[in-house]
Amino acid sequence: MIDIIVGHYNYWVVIFLMMAGFYTVIDRGNLIKKIAGLSIFQTSVFLLYISIGYVSDGTTPIIAEGFTRYSNPLPHVLILTAIVVGVSTTALGLALIVRINEAYGTIEEDEIHEQDKSL
């Protein structure tokens, strides 16, 4: 039992971050908080990939004398790409929020709906 909790602590962190981020995206009405939640949600997936790539007692995957076990570099590369995607998404989301704020004068979702309905 202890083994499951302690031995997989990285996965517990992943699950916690994933749920926290996902909950924030769904529950919060503030658009900035939504984007923040989305970033946390994506970050948890990065951590998941890095965990998958870990090899016990492995070092950084750079060839050097005296080391024979390396972590799997492929998930690192994949996640570098996914980070770029995440950065672009966040930047685009924030840019949209700036434009929304200019058009509506608010970034609260319920107030935006209120304004759209009154039209």
Binding site: T60, I62, L80, V84, A91, L94, A95, V98, N101, E102, G105
Partner: protein, 139 residues
């Protein structure tokens, strides 16, 4: 921040150090950890620091949005162009082996060009994003 002497002096000294580190990460990327993406972000950090201390107008005199757009596009073209050149040499897309007589040397040249393209684009895009947000008038 224009009147804060300490910040101005420190920023002036930090700028070349950050930029130098960026170039180290860029050109050492094929031997050790590093590469175009990290280097591009670090280089853009140097300019962002400069902008924060000296103001947007001064920064845009150095790098205007028009230049940044061209730089961002050039990086992508350099990346894809390298791939096209390898195709012209009769190989597959991004098959670096054919870039030199010796495949190992070819791999070196190829990864160098690719990472340079990535570095140029990433630093330009980060600055475009920063300038776009910073330059937006408050409504």
């Amino acid at each position: 921040m224009k009147h804060n002497l300490i910040l101005r002096v420190i920023a002036k000294y930090l700028f070349p150090v950050i930029a130098l580190f960026a170039f180290y990460v860029q050109f050492h990327g094929d031997y050790g950890p590093g590469g175009g993406f990290q280097a591009g972000v670090i280089l853009s950090v140097a300019f962002i620091l400069y902008t924060l201390v000296f103001g947007l107008d001064t920064a845009e005199q150095v790098l205007s949005p028009g230049v940044l757009r061209i730089l961002a596009c050039t990086g992508v073209l350099l990346y894809a162009g390298t791939g096209v050149v390898t195709m012209l040499f009769g190989g597959n897309f991004l098959d670096y082996d054919l870039l030199a007589l010796n495949p190992i040397e070819g791999q070196h040249i190829g990864i160098m060009l690719i990472e340079l393209g990535v570095g140029v684009t990433v630093s330009a895009i980060m600055l475009v994003i920063f300038f776009a947000f910073a330059g937006r008038e408050r409504s």
